[in-house]
């Protein structure tokens, strides 16, 4: 069953002679629970595609549907609400909120969605145990190692059981061991929650772990399924 459908997505920056095309008529479907890798060299449009898929940017043209919702037609406020409820992000530099503890960083999406405090505590504690950071729940991000921060970032993305998780180079700032552990964690949570993953990566190991991949070059799909 298709979770996300993108049809002829284009993204241009600037106008006139200065116009740059980051994405040019990109189409694909992402199945429910699928682990899809987006690959390509730097400047190929991976980040632009992920930004559009994560609703933090809008396409210049094309159609984007997420679970029967034409999300490309949402206004900024509706996109914000949709992100809050249904989309999780795993950032390359984990982007934890520096003034929040591990517990607070993971709990934040639930708090935004108005979940009761007791339920937030139960959910976060369960996930902390799963990622092995129970003992460090009061630590601030600067007190964690790179691998630990990424695990917290993954937990934050998945705590609200999103429909779609956007992961931009999730292993880029990690060594092989931590990259493997992070990917395993995402896979495990993917199986448990059924979230679809869209992962941009250069890392061959990460790409191998995905169910499928699409390749971009100069903003166009260049893989055999295109």
């Amino acid at each position: 069953m298709s979770r996300a459908t993108l049809h002829a997505i284009a993204r241009h920056y600037g106008s006139g002679r200065q116009q740059i095309t980051a994405l040019d008529s990109v189409s694909f479907e992402l199945a429910s629970g699928e682990f899809l890798a987006v690959v390509g060299p730097s400047g190929s449009g991976k980040s632009s595609l992920l930004n559009i898929c994560g609703l933090i940017d809008s396409p210049s043209s094309g159609r984007y549907q997420l679970d029967d919702v034409a999300v490309d037609r949402l206004n900024p406020q509706q996109r914000c609400t949709y992100r809050r409820r249904h989309i999780g992000f795993v950032f390359q530099r984990h982007q934890l909120i520096p003034a929040m503890t591990v517990f607070e960083n993971i709990a934040y999406p639930l708090y935004l969605n108005g979940m009761a405090t007791a339920q937030i505590r139960a959910e976060v504690n369960a996930l902390l145990e799963k990622i092995g950071l129970t003992q460090r729940h009061r630590h601030l991000p600067r007190q964690l190692s790179g691998g630990e921060r990424q695990r917290v970032g993954i937990a934050r993305a998945l705590i609200k059981k999103p429909k779609l998780v956007i992961a931009d180079e999730p292993s880029a700032s990690l060594d092989h061991q931590h990259a493997y552990a992070s990917l395993q964690l995402m896979r495990e949570l993917n199986r448990e929650h059924g979230a679809s993953f869209l992962i941009a990566s250069h890392d061959a190991f990460v790409i191998e772990q995905c169910d499928r991949k699409i390749s971009l070059f100069d903003g166009r799909r260049v893989d055999s399924d295109a």
Binding site: I56, C80, Q95, I97, P98, A99
Partner: protein, 402 residues
């Protein structure tokens, strides 16, 4: 989610930047509080001078010119003794002082000078002026009912006349109908106010001397001093209906100098205050904008996670509010210390225009003033953060996160 705790952690995390912001606000607040405290003490002194010189409530004849009521040669208030007796029995009244204003020529040997004189009740007159009329008494009792009436005069007038205590001088006046009055008086004492207009040209005699000069016991005004000076307006409204042929005025209706100076100081301190507030606002806007700009990645992350813009702005406003509270607390402490230091140092201001003496710098410490000014500064800090964070949440997430 403990927003307050997170805001405090953010403040601690950015301690260096916060410190410079706190210092700007604290110094600005200290300047405002010291300036305001000095302004309040100046107003209070001017009010005190006006009230002591004129009385809290003043009764003049209905026909007298209100602005110059009791001015020289207007001995228009008659039958005042009964009113004075009635006032003396009023528990609200501390004392009532009859004053008869006149003018003329005073001579001592070959020296003569024009003067403005006041006939007073010497038993009570010198009890009301306090530090604003410093007297040097050489004969006792002053302005007594002797065979030769006494006169006390401004120090500079005595210098002009080359007169010394005990000397005999001649007062000459011209009455309303042109009749001449003349009386020999003895210099009983001197007074000094620091106001050249008063010290150079004025003198005081007993009311009975004025009556002798003009052949009338009319006076110019009856100055009423109340137990509660702040009740002047109420007392005036209570007294006026009882007096059909007299006009009752409160002190500030006649305090021309006080009203002019207050209005001028209001403008000067108002403009200074606005300038300080604008400078503080610009400085704070600058530091807060920089701080928020450096956190735009964090803002973009919060936005990506689905945080509504208003919530991000509110978080920054909360941080700004805490910084404001911290800074104004420091500012109040600095102002408190500086106020006490200035007051203990007994510093003097130079003589203002129209005066021959400076006056001590005294700064009032008024908690309502402290709290109101601090609240204004906290509001400015919050406003600066609202403007800066509003700009920050409009930054494209894609740019901030790239």
């Amino acid at each position: 989610m403990h927003s307050l705790l997170i805001a405090l952690r953010n403040i601690a995390r950015n301690a260096g930047r916060v410190f410079s912001t706190v210092l700007i606000i604290a110094v600005g607040l200290t300047a405002l509080l010291l300036g305001g405290g000095f302004m309040l003490s100046t107003y209070d002194s001017l009010q005190e001078i006006a009230m002591r010189q004129q009385g809290h409530v003043i009764v003049i004849a209905a026909g007298a010119h209100p602005a110059a009521g009791g001015s020289h040669q207007q001995l228009t208030l008659s039958h005042w003794q009964a009113l004075r007796e009635q006032l003396q029995n009023d528990p609200q009244v501390l004392r009532s002082l009859p004053r008869a204003s006149f003018e003329g020529l005073i001579s001592h040997g070959d020296n003569s000078a024009a003067f403005f004189g006041t006939g007073v009740d010497p038993q009570v007159e010198f009890k009301v002026h306090g530090p604003f009329l410093r007297t040097t008494g050489v004969l006792d009792p002053w302005l007594g009912e002797d065979d030769i009436p006494d006169v006390v005069m401004g120090t500079r007038l005595a210098e002009t006349l080359a007169a010394q205590a005990g000397d005999l001088l001649t007062l000459q006046t011209l009455g309303k109908g042109g009749q001449r009055g003349e009386v020999v008086v003895q210099l009983a004492g001197l007074y000094h106010t620091g106001n050249p207009q008063v010290d150079n040209h004025t003198l005081m005699v007993n009311l009975s001397t004025v009556a002798t000069l003009f052949g009338s016991d009319n006076i110019s005004q009856l100055a009423i001093y109340l137990e509660q000076p702040d009740q002047a307006l109420a007392f005036k409204q209570q007294l006026q209906p009882q007096l059909t042929d007299a006009l009752v005025q409160s002190w500030h209706q006649r305090a021309e100098l006080y009203n002019k100076v207050k209005s001028q100081y209001d403008r000067i301190f108002g403009v200074m205050g606005i300038i300080i507030l604008v400078v503080v606002f610009l400085a704070i806007s600058n530091t807060i904008s920089l701080a928020i700009h450096q956190r735009r990645e964090e803002i973009a992350t919060l936005s990506a996670l689905g945080t509504p813009p208003w919530r991000i702005i509110a978080n920054f406003a909360l941080e700004a509010c805490l910084i404001g509270i911290l800074a104004t607390s420091l500012g109040m402490a600095l102002a408190y210390g500086a106020t006490h230091a200035i007051n203990l140092a007994h510093l003097m201001m130079p003589a203002p225009p129209g005066r021959t003496e400076g006056y001590p710098i005294y700064v009032y410490l008024s908690w309502p003033h402290y709290l109101a000014t601090s609240a204004v500064l906290i509001a400015i800090v919050v406003l600066a953060s609202l403007v800066a964070s509003y700009q920050a949440v409009k930054v494209k997430m894609t740019e901030a996160l790239s």
